[in-house]
Symmetry: C2
Subunit: 149 residues, 2 copies
Amino acid sequence: MQLNSLQLSHVLNVWPVARLASLDPMGHPHQVPVVFVCVDSLIYSPIDGKRKRGGTLQRVRNVAANASVSILLDHYAADWQQLWWLRVDAAADTVSAADGSFERVVAALQSKYPQYNTTAMFSSAPTLLRFRPLRHAAWSAQPIDWGSL
Amino acid sequence: MQLNSLQLSHVLNVWPVARLASLDPMGHPHQVPVVFVCVDSLIYSPIDGKRKRGGTLQRVRNVAANASVSILLDHYAADWQQLWWLRVDAAADTVSAADGSFERVVAALQSKYPQYNTTAMFSSAPTLLRFRPLRHAAWSAQPIDWGSL
């Protein structure tokens, strides 16, 4: 199923978590949950202050070597009639604080996630992963109004 | 973080949903939410009767060509202190009803998911995806008792 652009931005604006799949240097899939915002039809996810192992994160190294990623938003419920998912195939790169969009993205993240009042948005040098959507697919167990989730 | 085998089976037994990342024929990551059970240290997911597009599912075609998959279980909450994830890298294949483990896996799925009382466990020829775990990694925002989630 294809969503129109209004439905797509709505789902991306209201849903708090996505799973990011990138490719590791061996070409194996690598997944991690991420928070994100959608600004001007691009999706951004910060390398934030949630507890990290240190060093450059796997997801950052992965997209530097291979930009191909999948972003999955989905709703699981014991009532399987309520299930839905939205998958976005995207090309990823990283954005530093010098980028023109940086301040707007940070503001959008602060607005979407009040958690950033008490959690550092960046763990070290401010870095955002940026995802340029290439195509998407959506599914729901029964017809739903994607524009008012 | 590494879990011991008891913790690992516990999380796999109680958590209802995972996200499966496989590789499409172009080598791009492909994600879909899945239900699953763990039997004898192997993870199984049925191609079930939830509404499908028809034809052989992308996930089945993907693992037939490339067995490398990632399975991600995670907990998202507005309270970021409660976040955790468990990622399993695995080798996938498919299992038909002729396989010796088939009946036990079906019984485990019926036990874990009462939804199969009203949803068909298989959409056509009974097929299970089988995942042989190769390694895992786990993370939590604060220390948690993985053995009693």
